[in-house]
Amino acid sequence: MLVNGTARDVAAAPETRLSLVLRDALGLVGTKSGCDAGDCGACTVLLDGKQVCACLVPLAQAEGGAVLTVEGLAALSLGAALQRAFLAHGAAQCGFCTPGMLLAAMELLAVEPRPAVAAVEVALGGVLCRCTGYRKIIDAVCAAHSFLDAPAVVLPAAGAAVGARMPRADGQPKVDGAEVYGADAAPADALWLRPVRSPHAHARFTLGDCAPLYARHPGLVRVLTAADVPGRNGFGIYPDIKDQAVFAAGLVRYRGDTVCALVGERAAVEAIAVAELPIVWEVLPALADPGAALAPGAPALHDRWPDNVLTTGRLACGDVDAALAGAAHVAEGAWQTGFVEHAYIEPEAGWARRVGDRIEVHASTQAPYMDLEEVAGVLGIPQSAVRIVPTACGGGFGGKLDVAVQPMIAVAAWVLRRPVRAVWTRGESMASSTKRHPARITARAGCDAAGRLVGFEFEGVYDTGAYASWGPTVAGRVPAHSTGPYRMPHARSRARAVLTNNPPSGAFRGFGVPQAAIAQEALWDKLADAAGLDRLEFRVLNALRRGDATATGQVIAHSVGLVECLEALRPRWRELRAEAARANARGGLLRHGVGVACMWYGIGNTGMSNPSTMRVTLAPEGRLVFHNGAVDIGQGSTSVLLQVVADAVGLPVADFALVLGDTDLTADAGKTSASRQTFVSGRAALEAGLALRDAILLRANAGPEARLALEAGRLLVDGRAIALEAPLEGIGRFDPPTVPMDADGQGSPYATYGFAAQLAALAVDTELGTVRLDRIVAAHDVGRAINPMLVEGQIEGGIAQGIGLALLEEYLPGRTENLHDYLIPTIGDVPVIENILIEDPEPLGPYGAKGIGEPALVPTAPAIFSAIRDATGAEITRVPALPHRVLEALRT
């Protein structure tokens, strides 16, 4: 083959997937494997100028051909221009789909250097992205030609980083293929670990004598079982709930649960059929949904929770019954949502090795210090004996907050004293990983004659699956958010997380709040209609304002930009509604509508400590290092925190070297979840930067306004060279102040909240029930946009996931365990998005900033359903709104 212009000889079986040959034989790991089925396009390369999924091409068919991979782009002027365009436009987030996107775009640009949007969509339609919402990718491809002669990127000067649309600090390796994800590197002598998964939702099993298996497969080194786990055979998010076994001890509780693992030479473990294992199953009846699990006499999944209720979260304030009895208008409804799969394009992967009496785990994760605690626990060793080195993370969205490969490869490497690696297949990733909780919600709300909300009640049953995971977090967060961002004097909410024999429901962008928002926002539309108010104005009327108390009794004194969001949307609301009315007046089978929905989201853990520590050092020879333990899963924390620390110190971002993630080298920054990194770690980075600056100023005996510079390794303070005898450092720590909630959910669970409102404009095909999205307008109060381009990227990506939640995505165990039956939005499914950034500063946040990760997703689905209601009057109560469900809703 001619690979990136160089002739390469490869000796491999002719049917070997080209993707494997490129990655394993040629070391070109920039080509990613996401599904091995042509469903995701991550492995897209050009073969003789045509885009192909390298996972579908047998090596024999590439023989003599010319292959272009991401590693070959920089040498081509067009390729280099496209890479620069991706960086400048923020088109790469986690970066895992980026090589495929770049190569698919190259095929198009070769024939159409200045393509139209429609042509870009067709060309890139076969590559899935879960992070970006695609719009910035389209922009980058359309603009690539203008980067042919573009100068190098100019990074912000000292003091000008915050607020700059700076390209990602970790962007270059994402566009040139050099980024190392979980499956991209491991010691050459690493053994492969392949778990054996339960095909049953509930069963007992025994594993017989494996001696014949070893005899048949000499490359099989060990079948690891529960008996091999040296420490506690259990993991789980909560310190007191370690209910999920590394290897099941004779009982599996969901399809995908881990029975045992095969460890050995790769070819050997891949050649073993599960049917060869001496497993004897006794299949047990399964609790398929919360209804069955809550039924009187239902068997308990775990002895610890005899009624199968894992957690109940509550909120109670005022007198709801009286308030609703006296309300001028009351609306109610019932809604049901399904399991939603994270569908990060990078399946779980990593490797581990034992180094003396320590264990080192390199894996794709959102929470290195939680991984550290889990690994120490399952190995029965001190936490100081564990080192977690996060690899680049190809998307997380909450799904990589739970451990996956980590405990298994740690046990294997510890027991066998050999490096061990594992890469989940797409199917097993989907079957075994956590999901968004399916919710069954009933809710009722009332307002007075003027449209002011007076009372609200909410009952949510959340299917938490077979193990606790983040179920308690969801049950705790939902009631606090259940009223939405509105003044609500009387409220009563209950959310229960119920155990079933389904996949564990865990953390997924929003922790149960998006499901609740679907119910809330539907009620507001109904009440607005009943009160004769415009739906947007109804929300303005009831929106929380600075100084208001929430239903949890918390007075929010600062940074409540919801009214500003709604007011910013108002002109577009009127224009889009007028457009829809004109279109509807023309008649036809398409009915046009515009919807609106709001959201609030508490940043950080719910009424719990969640500190972050950041450190920045300046060595005598002038090396300036930012030690940042926050994991960037694509959302951009590496860049945002750098921008914060740079301005705090007063030196340009280009002066900083980065040390990221490694638990031996960075302090605990907490997990990348709850939209907390910009706010919590950002504040810690600010404090660290200010502390270093103070140390420098003290050393230089300079005033607070002094200008710093680093030139050729020399520190200059107001132009004066300052020699350092010893390193200086700044350490910053921040733990957002909260007050835990009491039994009635009263407290101050979050130090700050994100607010947003979104509009959706769409058309419903009244004969087919299909929905065509025309536009989303999103207004988000982010406190301060540290990097507006990355903020927009979060909003657009969140909207894309909200579209999936609303219209496409439903995980059904055993039925949609791949990316062609489980549908996430493609490049043609995300409409034009208009972003409006509102900056109502949060005094606790760095430079006024707060979080955006989850807020972006929450309002999208309710806005879409609001628009469907506006267009047709149809009430969507079963989510996702697949065409047949929309059609059914149109007729009821």
Binding site: G125, E767, D821, P883
Partner: protein
């Protein structure tokens, strides 16, 4: 490691096939073979141990040829090759289908014949080819035979291909010069989507009246079906009125299933809607021609 053969001529391929101790896995574009392997690997099913007969290097199969009264589409023709080919208007439906299979990567590799041999109920190539009255040419050491597409696909993942045969070409009889054709695919998302329902039509309406209507519906039965009752009802109808002719009873022979994509009732109903829309859309150029 399994045996892997990639013959350069049809004769060689057929000889290998005839001599094979067990039926080999036939591999063309790989767009169905490799996904099936991924599904098996995820659940630890036994790896496919069949020998592989790679058909992609066989000379002379990758072209579309005008053979006077018909076009011959070789087994090596990919979706992209078909999509981008300059062909008469009666191929418009088939070419539209080719542009809606998978994404561009699958279109660049997957072959039309492979799609037929895979025989999925949701195969996008089948309804347009049924509407074109396509014939499948099968070759073996015993000789060549031709089967109508309806006789070739027997059921879900079942065809009439014998163990010692290869499907080498599709023969598409020519329609009249003024024939028009179209394809409608309904899926839940824009790209990379398995059809909920798809319909195809070829209409010939010389003199402003439909002389011959050929229509087929896919993903609504184990094998896509032609609609003879509807075709008969459309004869003599003005194209502009054709859409109104379609009645649910015309689709009585379908037997859709309910699955993760849609309910059975929805499919049955959506097929009617798609047929009406396709006929309405096709009426526009016909009106001009008339």
């Amino acid at each position: 490691m399994t045996a892997y053969h990639r013959p350069g001529t049809l004769a060689e391929a057929l000889a290998l096939l005839a001599a094979a101790p067990a039926p080999p896995l036939l591999l063309a574009g790989g767009t169905d073979v490799y996904p099936a392997r991924a599904g098996a690997a995820a659940w630890g099913r036994a790896p496919d141990a069949r020998a592989v007969l790679d058909l992609s290097a066989i000379a002379g199969l990758a072209s579309i040829e005008d053979r006077g009264d018909h076009h011959r589409i070789g087994a090596g023709v990919t979706w992209a090759g078909l999509r981008d080919a300059a062909l008469p208007a009666w191929f418009d439906g088939l070419r539209a289908a080719a542009g809606k299979v998978g994404g561009a990567q699958v279109q660049n590799r997957g072959t039309l014949l492979g799609n037929l041999c895979n025989a999925s109920p949701a195969a996008d190539g089948v309804p347009p080819l049924l509407a074109l009255d396509a014939t499948v040419e099968l070759a073996g050491v015993r000789g060549v035979r031709r089967l109508s597409l309806g006789a070739f696909i027997l059921g879900n993942r079942r065809t009439a291909l014998a163990a010692d045969e290869l499907a080498v070409a599709l023969l598409v009889p020519k329609a009249s010069a003024e024939a028009v054709a179209g394809f409608e695919k309904l899926g839940a998302r824009a790209y990379l989507v398995i059809s909920i329902v798809m319909v195809a039509a070829v209409l010939e309406a010389p003199g402003g009246r439909i002389a011959r209507a050929r229509l087929a519906v896919g993903a609504c039965s184990e094998v896509a079906q032609r609609l003879p009752a509807l075709e008969a009802a459309l004869e003599g109808v003005a194209p502009a009125e054709a859409a109104q002719v379609v009645q649910p009873a015309h689709l009585a022979g379908l037997a859709p299933i309910g699955d993760v994509r849609a309910t059975a009732d929805y499919r049955q109903e959506a097929a009617v809607v798609l047929l009406r829309r396709l006929l309405a859309r096709l009426a526009a150029p016909l009106r001009v021609a008339a």
